[in-house]
Amino acid sequence: MRYGGDNRGRLLIIVLIVTSLFLITLDLRGVQVIDGLRTGTQTALTPVQKAGSWAISPLRNFLSDVTSLGRTRNKIERLQAENDKLRLSLQNRKNADALLKQLQGVLDLAGTAGYKVVGAKVISQGSTTSFTQSITIDVGSNSGVRSNMTVLSNYGIVGVVKYVYPNSALVQLASDPAFRIGVRIAGSQQIGIMSGQGTRRGVLQLLDNRTRIKEGDVLLARGSQGGRPFVPGAPIGSVTDVDNSPGAVTQTAEVKFYTNFSTLGVVAVVVSGEGTDPRDALVPPKPIPTPIPTVTVFVTPSPSPTN
């Protein structure tokens, strides 16, 4: 049977509704008691809410992660792609900076000597399977490059152009065992022949047995007729070890090339070096030693006590 209610029940409902309407009226009229009640409740609730927030934070974080799982994954993927792109860009920038530095160095060298050069980028390192040392550069006959032209880096001689194609050229490195170059020692002007050994070190053979060489001597290219295959004055390397074996027919020495052949990025092909001889102008400056600071301590003896 349905509840029909009685007078007492109806009265209770009416009282409650009137009370609530009374509260609404009081609040809308801005009675301070109502505001104080709310403020007091909120003040009392704040520590409980703080405790609840602390206790619920792991669950809330978990729920937040679950609800935003798809968005988070998309965001991570997007940021990863962006990061890869920026990393690649930075890498390219570093590479470009290094190439620019090399190019600047090689142009400075060529400018000091008065060589006319064509800049080139190393596009491949030749295979050493056949025991040769070579590189391929991205300029060829279309750029005025011919065979037997000197190739320079920012430190000095790299090698000589062996084969020329329309848009590329093969360069025999100075480290190639078949490489030979006429050299002179800066300063003393003694002459000799330097040959590659397959490494960054070459062997110098002096032509005159009576002359003396020492460690640190700088070798420069002696130059060829018409500047081909070698322009005069191009730096090659420095003497690192002298072989003074008694009874040797010729004096030999080990030479370290200035050019690091494994890090070549930009080189220059000397297309016209005829008529220019910089003499010793291209000898690299010696490193300046860093001064070591000294400390001087002054001590004044105190007078000894007398009795």
Binding site: L16, Q42, L45, G52, S57, L63, S64
Partner: protein, 173 residues
């Protein structure tokens, strides 16, 4: 409603109120979440007589008006809850087809929650409050219905147990 029942009911609703304010509001659930006090009050009313339902609505409404999340004037939720709880109790009282079946109570609670919110909204508009656009209102009501339908069965057994101990075993599901 005896003094004993009132004394026993008060800490229950106080605890629910604290749970709502300190825990449920921190969960930041999607679709607006749910109001535990509203759900418990309506379940409690559905298991009670209309007078007790109205009194329950009055107490719960006062608490909801004191809540931080309440935007309306003091008494607005009280009025809404008195009427909502009374109607729910009135619909359930004396009809064992409704009261003895948990699904009906869940349905009644869910409809009651949505109806109470609509009533609160209408009352707020009449009192000059801003309601927002229709789409957000619709999604908020749908979210409330969704969460109430989920939470009600979970708390029904506990509320029924407490209610039975406060008012007598006859109302226990």
């Amino acid at each position: 409603m005896s003094l004993r029942s009132f004394l026993y009911s008060t800490p229950v609703f106080l605890t629910i109120f604290l749970l709502q304010e300190a825990v449920v509001t921190q969960l930041r659930l999607p679709l607006g979440g749910f109001n535990l006090l509203l759900i418990v009050a309506l379940i409690w009313a559905a298991l009670s007589t209309p007078e007790i339902g109205a009194l329950t609505g009055f107490g719960a409404g006062i608490a909801m008006d004191l809540s931080q999340s309440s935007s309306g004037p003091m008494g607005q939720w009280t009025l809404v809850m008195i009427i909502a709880c009374y109607v729910v109790a009135f619909l359930g009282y004396g009809d064992d087809n409704i009261r003895a079946n948990p699904i009906n109570i869940v349905l009644l609670t869910t409809v009651g929650v949505v109806a109470a919110r609509i009533f609160y909204l209408v009352l707020g508009i009449l009192l000059g409050e801003q309601a927002g656009n229709l789409q957000s209102i619709f999604w908020s009501l749908a979210g409330t219905a969704f969460w109430t339908a989920i939470i009600s069965p979970l708390v029904l057994k506990v509320i029924s147990f407490i209610h039975a101990n406060v008012f007598g075993l006859s109302s226990r599901i």
